[in-house]
């Protein structure tokens, strides 16, 4: 499939960023911990997954507990792009643009099967979607599911934090369960 549609795939996003002004390891380490603890997602829903992304911020799952509270509508002020949904070919250039508009330390979560690979909408002679957001922008964490549960998105957030700081900050669910007993 990918070969057939090669000519229609959008160009890959520009990933060049500025060098940090203070490029010292300890400073960056502290900053990275801070970044991991305050990942502000962008309000950027594409399809069904956006509803689960809303649930992720709502009272029951409450992403605020882990610092990912402030959903910013402007890409300039957000750190985390949650690509929640199907990327149609019409939308693809805009996803690239939003990625490029986000200032440098930024992470991308591909939420749901559509964002990972096109999901259920991949079939012979499909004409409208991009099969995976990683064809157009670099992705840090993939969360499978159609749509993934909000818990899955929380786990994805933890994985971004792990990628940033090198360690997992919150106990794994099994450990949490055993510690209760």
């Amino acid at each position: 499939m990918a070969q057939e549609n090669q000519d229609l795939i959008r160009p890959f996003a520009d990933t060049a960023t500025d060098e940090p002004i203070i490029n010292q390891a300890p400073v960056q380490k502290i900053l990275n911990i801070c970044r991991a603890m305050s990942l502000w997602p962008m309000t950027f829903g594409l399809a069904c997954c956006a509803i689960e992304m809303m649930s992720f911020g709502m009272a029951r799952f409450d992403s605020a507990r882990f610092g990912a509270e402030v959903f910013r509508p402007s890409p300039r002020q957000s750190d985390l792009i949650i690509v929640a949904g199907t990327i149609s070919r019409k939308m693809a250039p805009l996803v690239v643009r939003l990625y490029e508009q986000t200032p440098a330390p930024k992470w991308v979560i591909a939420m749901g099967n559509c964002a990972i690979s096109g999901g259920p909408f991949v079939y012979k002679n499909q004409y409208g979607i991009v099969e995976g957001v990683d064809l157009i922008i670099p992705v840090d964490v993939y969360i499978p599911g159609c749509p993934p549960r909000p818990e899955g998105l929380l786990e994805g957030l933890f994985q971004v934090q792990k990628k940033l700081t090198g360690r997992r900050w919150w106990p794994l669910p099994e450990q949490a369960r055993t510690s209760d007993k």
Partner: protein, 382 residues
């Protein structure tokens, strides 16, 4: 420094088609596709004079997902999970529409218990859809808290539905000739509990939000849609009922067992955003009434027809099946050539027709009102 702000949309196909008028003092503003109040990925090109909108043109297709093409490629059972993804807030209604269209075409009988289960689950899903609309609409108007309260109830209903259908959002529960599994006592008990929990909460919602004077000022007499405009554009659902026409598919062409229940069709002839708001708030209470009646009279029997075909091959011909979704009339036009996959499937998404009147209604209103109107139409863009 380039200060000619009128020019910088020229790189895009739709913006080129949307040329500014001859006036010099207008601004072309792109709302969306990534904009918090366009709910997903609708884009609206506005020509504004100050804050007044002179022209508005919605541009859609940013989540066009080829459902019609997919139906032609896939067989009927393969296509089962997909209709729910067309309108992800009221997935069960679409699931139902697909299943029912095939059943009608084949002349399949559905056991009574299955029909009751369908009614109960579909109405529960309608409540979740309206609750989400309510929260999101108030978010559009700048009040953040109601959505949290709405999601409180929504999550509870989703938990109930999840146990029985197996998913939280994009349901695939109905099968040709019935439903995929039976409901149990726990489901009935939880549903009853949730229904009795919801009733006082509607009063709280009214006291807390609906009676707020700022909200009233923001929605009353905003976005007046006369009934005739609705007819010309084919708008249905709460948009139409908010314009004073009590037209509901559940009553107008009763499908399933809806003709056995006693419920009102709320309608308000104020034609404004408040009317649409109140229609939805009332509809949730009517849904609870239907659910309780259905639970009281739930018959015993099969939940799926014992000899339901796994791979249906309906006879050649076409069928149009319409039912009432949370956003309006859902239509399935299914053309079959007697093969295992449809020859042609046309989906009538209610949001499509409802949105098409936006450009007429939004002429001459403020940007803030346009957001209010857009929210009151309750869109899931196809």
């Amino acid at each position: 420094m380039n200060l000619d702000l009128r020019l910088d949309t020229s790189g895009d196909f739709y913006a080129r088609k949307f040329q500014p008028t001859k006036r010099e003092d207008t601004l072309i503003l792109n709302m969306g596709p990534q904009h918090p109040s366009t709910h997903g990925v609708l884009r609206i090109i506005l020509e504004i004079d100050g804050e007044y909108i002179l022209r508005a043109e919605p541009v859609l297709g940013y989540i066009h997902r080829m459902h019609e093409k997919m139906a032609e490629v896939m067989s009927y059972p393969q296509y089962l999970p997909n209709p729910a993804r067309t309108d992800y807030l009221h997935g069960l209604a679409w699931n139902w529409a697909h299943v029912a269209a095939v059943e009608r075409l084949m002349g399949l009988e559905v056991p009574e218990r299955a029909e009751y289960i369908r009614v109960i689950t579909c109405e529960l899903n309608r409540i979740t859809s309206h609750l989400l609309w309510w929260g999101a609409y108030l978010l559009d108007l700048g009040a953040f808290t109601p959505i949290m309260y709405a999601f409180d109830d929504r999550e509870r209903i989703q938990d109930i539905l999840q146990r029985i259908t197996g998913s939280r959002l994009t349901y695939c529960y109905y099968r040709f000739g019935g439903v995929s599994n039976d409901i149990d006592d726990r489901f009935i008990e939880e549903t009853r509990k949730q229904c009795s929990r919801m009733k006082p909460r509607f009063k709280m919602f009214k006291d807390l939000v609906t009676d707020n004077f700022i909200l009233r000022k923001r929605v009353e007499e905003i976005g007046e849609i006369p009934a005739d405009t609705c007819r010309k554009y084919g708008a249905t659902g709460p948009v139409l009922r908010g314009s004073g026409v009590p037209y509901d598919v559940r009553r107008a062409e009763p499908y399933s067992v809806y003709d056995r229940f006693d419920f009102n069709i709320p309608s308000y002839d104020t034609c404004d955003a408040m009317g649409r708001y109140l229609v939805r708030m009332d509809e949730m209470q009517e849904s609870i009434k239907i659910i309780e009646q259905a639970l009281d009279t739930l018959p015993e029997g099969d939940y799926i027809m014992p000899k339901a075909p796994k791979k249906p091959k309906p006879p050649a011909g076409d069928v149009y099946f319409a039912l009432e979704g949370a956003r309006g009339k859902i239509g399935f036009h299914l053309v079959s050539d007697g093969d295992k996959s449809p020859y042609r499937l046309k989906l009538r998404a209610p949001g499509f027709s409802n949105l098409s009147l936006f450009s007429e209604v939004s002429e001459g209103v403020l940007i803030a009102d346009a957001v209010s109107i857009l929210g009151s139409l309750d869109l899931v863009i196809p």
